[in-house]
Amino acid sequence: MLKYTIKRLLQSLVTVLIVVTIVFLLMRMLPIDYYFTEEQLMKFTEEQKQEQLLQAGLLDPLPKQLFNFYRQLITKFSLGDSRRIQSGVAVTKVIATRMGISMRLGVISLGISLVLGVLLGIAQTRFKDKFVDGIGTAYIIFVNSVPSLVSYSLVLVFGSRVLGLPPLYSTRNPVSITLPIVCLSMGSIAGYALWTRRYMVDEINKDYIKLARAKGLTTKQIMIRHVLRNAFVPLAQYLPASFLLTIGGSLLVERFFSVPGMGALMTDAIARYDTNVVQGCVALYASLGILGVFLGDVLMMLIDPRIKLTGNGGTR
């Protein structure tokens, strides 16, 4: 197991490096004029443009740029400085200041949605085709049917006009996280409920459940001991990734409520061609994503001993 873990983590590292390298190259496929704003382009002479790119090291041949990038990453743990998001500030610092805010919101909403979502899913399965199931389904349908662009606006308007909640995130007012969290949780509650119900319904039809029922276990015991445990296996796979990716924040929620988190950082960085920030974000997301998948596999294996990740168990 240890050997497998190490091997897989090393593999993951390679993947992250490949991903970052690809993004590095993709960003440099664009013409250099994208590095400047419209106003700078109108103002600058060709000479000035070259001068600035030279200072930023963007005119070096690609292999050299890539080499420099990895050199400073390895020797100084530095991803370079931001050019346009927060000029001169180290990318690591740019990300660090935003990460905590997104993560705080994300983890709170993940907790809420996991609890509420799984509970709703269980209730729906327990009372399948009854009223509760219908309510749950209606909720899931509502959340899924209205594009988030619209539902977030509705939450914003309803929350601020009717309930009088602050429409903008503020560090000084803890109440102001309510609306962003509602928006973040709305969708994922529905998601967890949907898949919990799906997998539980699948389990309920299996033979061992019939056996358990025949043995005389109560519905409650069957639900919790057998159905939920088995149904949770495929869900568990995604948990670590969801947790880690809370760091990434949500683009729309953070835009709408002016949350100063990671959500809009990469979009903004791409829009301004702040290559270092883009690379930093991608490296972070990739590491988290891959780590999340790995931890998901481990978790799935721990919960369900039938699943084996190492090649020894099965054939082929």
């Binding site: 419209e38 106003e39 001068e51 200072q55 610092k93 606006s153 914003l156």
Partner: protein
């Protein structure tokens, strides 16, 4: 003051890239996604002051104020504004580094330079009390105030602001390692030794250059401080307009002691709690894409000015959020989008019905610029368009036929024609000795005169159905002979994903179809994804742009100079540099026009004559339909701020200083605004 206006000539222009954004767009004090833009233009006016020597001593140190309208409210103590996220967020707190308008809007409140501007854009003293040149602009001496101090984020006095700090600032700008070649162009063009010092720092290893102090700098560069409160700049040649550069951040001071404290690397990435301030406010809180809080600097040198106790700028996603915040009483001004405007306007009982106020006309005079050397997507010349647009009758059809009323209604549904522009130059730019607006001189030379503005409903004076029909028939006849196929396809580019631009373009398409007829010209709306220059202008794909130009200084040369061809410093030169490939006729017209402008520019002893000569050049341009004037934008707002009391100078980083603003806790009405406008116009120095 008269002299300094001419002296202030050249430098800096403000431009907006087409896109009429109307009421939609951004909420906040800056309704248009305009890009403030500076550009240096050569000293074509050097002769103006050669031989003359003068020292401008200004005793009216307090900015002229518009009279107060008493609407029952108290002046606002804590101002709250909104600004749209993303592209409008402040990129750096290092004022020597920034080159973007949205960033300067913030930083101008934190630091003062040598000079500032008043509400009309005239130079006024800031840290320098007296300034001038005795040798026609070769050497410039600035006398500084001795009561300016640097304070930290908590308002504690840290150090005096002296001439040394200006030297430290310029050294930073010209040090390649420290400022990454930002803001170097103006000093390098103007100050002796600047280029040499820049090259010197570039040749050094980064660490060494970062560690440089001002010793070597003072040896190389033509700047000196005979004492703590005198600063002398030596220019490369006579630069009579050098003093207007003193409003720019490239000549701003920075406290040497602060840099010592936080290290040069630390100043590069400085945060608001490390910074030392000498401006009106201290930035006490800065949360990216969320909120900025500025608090009054109690030690600010200008004791007579009106400042807010605090100014909060909230970053918001869109105009609907701003409007909600305004309704909740949280912010003090909001621009209105179409649906908000129409709801308020159509309901006389609406709480804001009386508070709909029209902003003053945008500084940007929008005109249609043609592309005479258009290419197709595959890179080959679009001969059909190029042949057509080189035909004068074809262009005249645009001039006489294109009625923008409906297009203008996008930004002002109520009085669209109030925005009409008759000339290339915006109205109210400069006046002759008898008080005539310069643009009137131009329209007097045209056979159709100027637009009737008495009720704000008169259509553009140039419109003439008969002449249009004539021009159209002539163009179609002549061009068919040259093998042009009709309808001529005109490509117009908008930003992809911008619904406001798309809506405006859809209306423009309708306007084209109505004005020209579908057999003549057909508008194609096309999009670019992120960068107009890169995606459209460089490959020359557009048939025309609608561009806005804002005045930098009160002289027609600032407008007309942008259209001259050939002209290295002309803003629009890059549009027209390919004219010779396209058409000899058009080139001849441009050259003649350029000659007229150059002639006019030589008249420096008699302003009336100068303006008359420029008017002639402009009329010439109009008669040959080299462009089609569109409008000066006027939007609707609900606001508690008198916008006529804010600095109205598009250059430097002076505008948007929250200083001497007239505000009221009760929202202003349209009548209040009319009074403000009248007072503003009456107070304009007419010399």
């Amino acid at each position: 003051m008269r002299k300094s206006k001419i002296l202030a000539m050249a430098l800096v222009s403000v431009l907006t890239i087409s896109s009429l954004t109307g009421c939609g767009g951004n909420p906040n004090n800056n309704t248009n996604p305009t890009t403030n833009q500076t550009t240096t233009s050569g000293g074509s006016n050097s002769e103006t002051t050669s031989g003359s020597s003068e020292t401008t001593t200004s005793d009216n140190s307090s900015t002229p104020k518009a009279p107060v309208v008493d609407n029952g409210g108290e002046p606002i103590k804590d101002l709250v504004m909104t600004q749209s996220q993303g592209s409008h967020e402040c990129e750096t707190l290092n004022w020597l580094y920034t080159q973007t308008g949205s960033t300067s809007e913030v930083l101008t409140n934190l630091v003062d330079g040598l000079l500032s501007c008043d509400v009309y854009g005239n130079l006024v003293p800031a840290i320098a009390t007296e300034w001038g040149t005795e040798d026609g602009g070769l050497t410039w001496t600035f006398k500084l105030r001795n009561d300016v101090t640097w304070v930290d984020v908590n308002g504690n006095k840290m150090a005096d602001c002296t001439a040394q700090d200006f030297i430290t600032g310029l050294e930073w700008v010209l040090n390649a390692a420290k400022n990454d070649a930002n803001n170097t162009s103006m000093p390098i063009d103007l100050i002796s030794g600047a280029k040499e010092y820049y090259d010197y720092t570039k040749s050094l290893p980064t660490e060494e250059a970062m560690a440089l102090d001002t010793t070597k700098f003072l040896e190389i560069v033509g700047v000196e401080a005979p004492d703590d409160y005198t600063l002398i700049y030596h220019c490369i040649t006579e630069k009579p307009y050098f003093d207007s550069v003193a409003t720019y951040n490239c000549l701003y001071p920075v406290s040497a002691a602060m840099i010592e404290q936080i290290t040069p690397q630390g100043f590069k990435e400085v945060s608001n709690d490390q910074l030392w301030y000498n401006g009106c406010y201290r930035l006490t809180s800065f949360i990216y894409n969320n909120e900025k809080v500025m608090e009054k600097n109690e030690s600010y040198w200008d004791k007579d000015c009106t400042l807010f106790d605090s100014v909060t700028v909230k970053m918001v996603e869109g105009s609907d959020v701003s409007y909600q915040l305004y309704q909740a009483g949280e912010i003090d001004a909001v621009g209105l989008n179409e649906s908000q405007f129409s709801t308020i306007y159509n309901d006389p009982n609406h709480e804001y019905y009386n508070n709909l106020v029209e902003t003053y006309p945008s500084k940007y005079a929008y005109v249609v610029h043609f592309n005479y050397n258009k290419r197709k997507d595959d890179g080959t010349d679009d001969t059909n368009w190029n042949t057509a647009i080189s035909n004068e009758a074809f262009r005249q059809a645009w001039y006489y036929g294109l009625d923008f009323t409906e297009y203008m209604a996008r930004s002002n549904p109520l009085n669209p024609n109030k925005q009409t522009l008759d000339t290339f130059t915006g109205r109210g730019l400069c006046f002759t000795s008898d008080g005539t607006d310069y643009t009137t001189l131009v329209t007097d030379l045209l056979d159709h005169g100027s637009t009737d503005r008495s009720d704000g409903q008169g259509k553009a004076a140039r419109l003439n159905a008969e002449k249009f029909a004539e021009a159209k028939a002539q163009a179609m006849a002549e061009l068919t002979e040259q093998g042009v196929t009709f309808p001529v396809q005109a490509d117009y580019f908008i930003l992809s994903g911008s619904q406001t631009s798309l809506d405006a373009a859809e209306v423009l398409k309708k306007v084209f179809s109505q004005c020209f007829g579908d057999d003549f010209i057909q508008l194609n709306i096309r999009t670019y994804v992120s960068n107009l220059t890169q995606e459209v202008r460089n490959p020359r794909l557009q048939s025309f742009f609608i561009n806005g130009w804002g005045a930098d200084y009160a002289d027609p040369q600032n407008y007309l100079g942008q259209m001259v061809y050939p002209g290295d410093n002309a803003f629009y030169a890059q549009y027209y540099e390919n004219v010779p490939d396209a058409s000899a006729d058009v080139q001849a017209v441009f050259e003649e026009f350029t000659g007229l402008v150059e002639e006019a520019d030589k008249i420096t002893d008699d302003l009336d004559k100068r303006y008359a000569a420029f008017a002639e050049a402009e009329a010439f341009m109009i008669n040959h339909a080299l462009f089609v004037p569109v409008f000066n934008q006027i939007n609707f707002k609900v606001t508690r701020i008198n916008h006529f009391s804010t600095i109205n100078a598009p250059f430097g980083i002076q505008p948007n200083k929250y200083k001497n603003w007239e505000t009221s806790t009760v929202a202003y009405t349209a009548d209040d605004y009319a009074a403000f406008e009248a007072a503003y116009e009456a107070g304009r120095p007419t010399d």
